[in-house]
Subunit: 179 residues, 2 copies
Amino acid sequence: MKIERRPSTLFYPCPVVLVTSVDEKGTPNIVTLGWAGVVCSDPPTIGLGIRPNRHSYGLIEQSKEFVVNIPSLSILKETDYCGRVSGRDHNKFEETKLTPEPALKVKAPLIKECPVNLECVLQQTVKVGSHNLFLGRIVAVHVEQALLDANGHIDYAKAKPFVYNQGEYWGVNVKLDVS
Amino acid sequence: MKIERRPSTLFYPCPVVLVTSVDEKGTPNIVTLGWAGVVCSDPPTIGLGIRPNRHSYGLIEQSKEFVVNIPSLSILKETDYCGRVSGRDHNKFEETKLTPEPALKVKAPLIKECPVNLECVLQQTVKVGSHNLFLGRIVAVHVEQALLDANGHIDYAKAKPFVYNQGEYWGVNVKLDVS
């Protein structure tokens, strides 16, 4: 039997990404976001729902660039930490020991430990409410070669992605048979 | 070692939802979308990336309403089917035997077999490219009581959600320990 609940964002499963950006001096920050996803294939475009008071919001608004880094299970703790503290008073790269690497087309760094990095250039900011939506065009893609199968597809059994909802992380572990 | 790839939507994990809408006569349709997600908590808002040539695009554009229905593993085949055929020449409710139920605040139906249904009213359409983005405000939420734990949270071990990427469905099966 179903019950009615007050309107809320009871949507699942949500992805988890580490978004990197830089300030005017080039100091990088990391923020963990669950409200992120693809919105368009041509041009390849990603949307990020983010509160204006987040430190990364201002960095992305000013630099007009960001990188979406997709974590693996091996950096679950670091991923969680980067969502709990602010880049205003924490150097998250130093504290987590995640490794910044230069991107090709944007100033924001890639996170080496993430097997996929999507370099993005901000195209639009859509005002929504408590959160606004950054739409970023993907301008470069990096992928860990060891994760690719013979077809050039990512093997999720190796990539070990996870989702985040209701304060819980859940692993994406089992390939399903549709036939 | 990482390799560079041409810019594309190499983003994962993506959710899978069944979006219902109705035509002017009230005939309901279902479309399976992977490019969907939360963008804002207040007002609670969902974004859908969808091609303008999809039948459901026109239905949502005209009716300005839709329902996001979150499937469970038990209807994986039906979910896959609703992404493969068009409502222009298929009655997907009849063909899949999924059950439409009246919503509270919109004309589009809930899918009974989906444990969570989010009724949405279209607020904005953002032009992006091959796909545009529908932003819908969640106006009513329905959830299967049997899935809720003592805290009123969804137990994903019971809800059995799944994700879709690269033509593959993967189960969200294991709760992860961050501590």
